[in-house]
């Protein structure tokens, strides 16, 4: 029955032998340049796979309308639908029946003024449709590839960041007016005071690690910020903090942060530059050295803040074996279970970022913590709405949140 219908539709197509409707050629929007899009509507009856398989599309390009044509791609009517590239065409229902192809715009031989500009020469594109009924041609049409200044498919991310930023600053200004902000207790951060006190009583140092990433990592920045707050307390307790570093830039920043911390606590004379030092950039060599340090120095407290990889368990187990009180904070989801198993307290994910604000108790910083809660409420509401609308067959919330 379906086969019969397909033949009837093919016969109808053959009777007209027309090229596909709406053949268009244009520069790909929102890209770095170099790409041209050709699109057209599928032939009537293409929604039946049997019919679609019998249709063949051939795309050719040329530098002039009457010039030499070069075949670029040949494919059956079952392929190259616009719904395969939502990053270009979005999520319209009609994308399922329309075809497209992304072509490289023609450029002169490499080394010319076009190199790295994203521009192309005017490129002519021709579409041939081969079906049992014969061949039809659409075009040729011309387009030029050029670079764009805005990636439209990322606009939803931009809008989210913009809204989140505005809410953050609104909450910060609110915090400026009313500094008594309630922030839920984070036991791991409260325990830091206890850990420093314990180290002072025992006359042993505190070991502080910044994780294995470099200074570009947001978790390392958060870790260094916490170190600043810890240094102040260590200085006021007249204790000692040891900071072996894996990255030389992190080392320089740590030394500066510690110096400022000791100065802010009124004990600049107690700061010792050698308490932060560089070990190596190699992962397991670093771990071997820090583990050795733990065994020799027997620190009273080990604080692991930042991003960790496989070494998390090696560090935390060795620290546990020395009897140190251990507090970890990481946004590395794969290593969180190891820290939770081995440490006395663990700051989970975002708590690491909140730690500096929590410890400093500055209203401006605490205000920004509220924006994280606002963001979470927004995400929960969106997830709920998205699930409901998707279940009802209208996945527009899902499409609105798609990232490319």
């Amino acid at each position: 029955m379906i086969r019969a219908a397909a033949f009837v539709l093919l016969a109808a197509t053959a009777a007209t032998a027309q090229a596909p409707a709406d053949f268009k050629v244009y520069d790909r929007p929102g890209d770095a340049g170099g790409v041209i899009i050709a699109e057209w509507k599928g032939l009537p009856g293409e929604e039946i796979p049997e019919t679609a398989r019998r249709i063949e599309y051939v795309i050719s390009v040329s530098l002039s309308k009457d010039g030499e044509w070069k075949e670029i791609k040949r494919f059956p009517g079952t392929l190259q639908h616009k719904n395969e590239a939502p990053e270009i065409f979005g999520f319209s229902k009609s994308n399922e029946t329309e075809h497209f192809i992304a072509l490289k715009g023609l450029v002169p031989p490499p080394g010319g003024p076009w190199l790295g500009t994203g521009k192309s020469l005017p490129t002519w594109v021709k579409l041939e449709v081969i079906s049992p009924a014969g061949t039809a041609i659409a075009g040729p049409l011309v387009a030029e590839a050029k670079p764009n200044w805005w990636a439209w498919n990322k606009t939803n991310v931009f809008v989210f960041i913009l809204i989140f930023g505005v809410v953050t600053f609104w909450l910060i200004s609110k915090a400026r007016r009313n500094p008594n902000i309630f922030v839920r207790r984070i036991p791991g951060l409260d325990a830091m005071e206890e850990a420093i006190g314990r180290a002072t009583e025992m006359g042993r140092p505190i070991l502080y690690l910044n994780g294995l990433q470099s200074m570009e990592s947001i978790s390392t920045i958060a870790s260094v910020s916490i170190l600043g707050q810890i240094s102040k307390r260590v200085a006021s307790y007249d204790s000692q903090i040891l900071v072996p570093c894996r990255d030389a830039v992190v080392l320089s920043v740590c030394q500066e942060v510690m110096r400022e911390g000791f100065t802010a606590a009124g004990r600049p004379d107690k700061y010792r530059e050698q308490d932060a030092w560089f070990i190596t950039q190699e992962q397991f060599s670093y771990v071997a050295s820090v583990d050795g340090l733990m065994i020799r120095e027997k620190p009273a407290a080990c604080l692991y803040m930042g991003y960790y990889y496989a070494e998390s368990l090696l560090l935390a187990e060795t620290g546990g074996a020395t009897g140190a009180i251990q507090i970890a904070g990481t946004d590395s989801i794969t290593q969180l279970p190891f820290f939770i198993a081995c440490c006395d307290y663990t700051l989970i994910g975002e708590e690491l970022y909140a730690a500096s604000a929590y410890l400093s108790r500055e209203p401006l910083q605490l205000g920004s913590l509220r924006s994280q809660d606002a963001g979470k409420i927004f995400i929960i509401a969106t997830l709920f709405l998205g699930a409901l609308t998707a279940a009802a067959g209208y996945p527009f919330v899902k499409h609105l949140l798609a990232t490319f």
């Binding site: 890209d31 947001i218 030092w277 963001g375």
Partner: protein
């Protein structure tokens, strides 16, 4: 001096932080080149700071050797091997297979690194023992879940009806939900921290507030 220590770093953080956010949304080659350039700067700064790191390494170990603190022998070995590796790096046969640097890497660094990594096997067992002691309801749940998941991953589990599919469900549904929740929280925290740094609200990475 205060300007150099505060205002200039804050201005740099603002310009580059804000600029790189915008760069993410601008596909133009000019924007790509700017990104490439800043990444090269990071590499250059990283290399220069490596010299600082080497200086720090030497200082710290030399101090230990000089003061003959307990374990100073390790510092001698560290500095000795460091100098030996640098010397091997200048050997003319390094560009050929079997050169001294590659030999040292394959015969010393690789096995030692693998040894450290292998310790994980033992540490996982001891950590699991501590984590799975059923002393509370949460720990008991953790123990039961872990046993089910482990059974689903080993050949024995294939002989227990439902073990494999239940394990896959635990990994695919509750675990994935929890991981996604964590990821969302981390992303929001990272954005909030980035905004605090870019707009100079969070300054402790510069060494506290004035």
């Amino acid at each position: 001096m205060g300007h150099l220590k505060r205002t200039v770093p804050l201005a740099i953080a603002f310009i580059f932080g804000f600029g790189l956010i915008i760069q993410y949304f601008v596909p133009h080659p000019v924007s790509q080149r700017a990104l490439g350039m800043t990444q090269r700067w990071v590499t250059i700064v990283g290399f220069v700071s490596l010299l600082l790191g080497i200086g720090s390494l030497f200082q710290s170990h030399w101090r230990k050797i000089n003061a003959q603190v307990p374990g100073w022998g390790y510092s001698v070995v560290t500095l000795g091997v460091f100098l030996l590796t640098v010397a091997a790096g200048f050997h003319p046969k390094n560009d050929k297979p079997g050169g001294p640097l590659l030999w040292a890497f394959n015969n010393t660094y690789s096995p030692m690194s693998a040894t450290m990594f292998s310790l994980l096997g033992f540490f996982i067992a001891s950590a699991a023992f501590r984590a799975f002691r059923a002393r509370s309801l949460e720990a008991s749940l953790l123990l039961v879940t872990a046993v089910i998941v482990m059974l689903g991953q080993v050949p024995l589990g294939a002989h227990i009806p439902g073990a494999s599919s239940f394990s896959a469900w635990i990994l695919g549904v509750p675990l994935t939900a929890a991981k996604r929740a964590l990821t969302l929280g981390i992303a929001l925290g990272a954005i909030a921290t980035a905004l605090r740094i870019i707009f100079g609200i969070e300054r402790s990475y510069l060494g506290g507030r004035e």
